[in-house]
Amino acid sequence: MPIVFACAASHAPGMTAWTEAAPKEQADKFLGNYKKLGERVAAAKPDVIVAITVEHWANFFLNSMPTFCIGRAEHYDGPVEEWLRIPKARVPGDAKLAAELIDACLDGGFDPMFSDELLLDHATFLPLHFLNPNMSVPMVPVILNTLTPPMPSAKRCFQFGEFLGQTLQRSDKRVAMIATGGLSHWPGEAKHGKINIPFDKRFLDNLITKDHASLMSYGYDEINTEAGSGGHEIRTWIALAGAVQSWKAELVDYEPVYPWATGCGLVAFNP
């Protein structure tokens, strides 16, 4: 059983950078559940974490913006943000598995960019802080462009995730897959602070009920209008749903945390 664990989680920087701005009860409950997910990752004893993630102008700019990028580095430094209140760390990479994934993609109809040096920002480091707290489990980042249009379609993300899942199931390593981002949020926009709870609940319901057709039909305009520029990150969750599509999704927590300006979700997938 090479994929031994899978979960999707939001990465609002306020969770660590301004934790205490949120109502204590709400923050304690959500972050407590995040840590418990980390315990489940540890219990699954993964050899490697494959993170379907995003980035926020940490590495890429408009001169060279990959739709999909697989990290093939020996290690990853982060977090980029000085103010995140997560200690700087170097996370080991699994360059061998990354190379195998890239080869499999190129043979299998997907053409990701690859990179031997990537910095990680809060999108990856914040989930790792909870899910890989010693930063000791090697990782492979798989970055989707959810930052600036044109972005990969939800359908393509699902299919890419499906392909990654099928490939990793054949791996001899114990793989934990995580997806990071979302749910609705409008970071730095005029609507900053808004959370669209009905959108978030509909999306979570699509995951829980395995409504793959609906997951694949989310369009750019719909997400942009209803879930904000940050909402595009749900593509990582959609990719993970494709990766473990026979597994049952379990809603671990959902909290619209206004001081963190994000609909915050945690979903675990169980075989």
Partner: protein
């Protein structure tokens, strides 16, 4: 309008410590490195959050850039008021 150049300037200031130092020493000289319209250059030099936003700068380039220039959350929100 040269939004690409304008965003490139912000990206460099945000992400490249050496360029950020040059920007800090002389913003007037720094903006000349980019092909900006007069309006864009002025928006950068005045750290005019609203102008940069309406010119189309990505919010996740704009907020880090304004943070580096000590624009508070309150002032940032106030600058974008009415653009929802």
């Amino acid at each position: 309008m040269s939004l690409y150049q304008l965003q490139k300037l912000l990206y460099h200031v945000n992400r490249d410590a050496e360029r950020r130092e040059i920007y800090r020493k002389s913003p007037q000289e720094f903006v000349k490195r980019y092909e900006l319209t007069e309006q864009e250059a002025q928006a950068v030099l005045n750290i005019d959050t609203r102008a940069l936003y309406t010119l189309g700068v990505h919010s996740l380039l704009l907020r880090p850039f304004t943070l580096l220039n000590k624009v508070s959350n309150e002032d940032y929100g106030q600058a974008l008021k009415g653009l929802e």
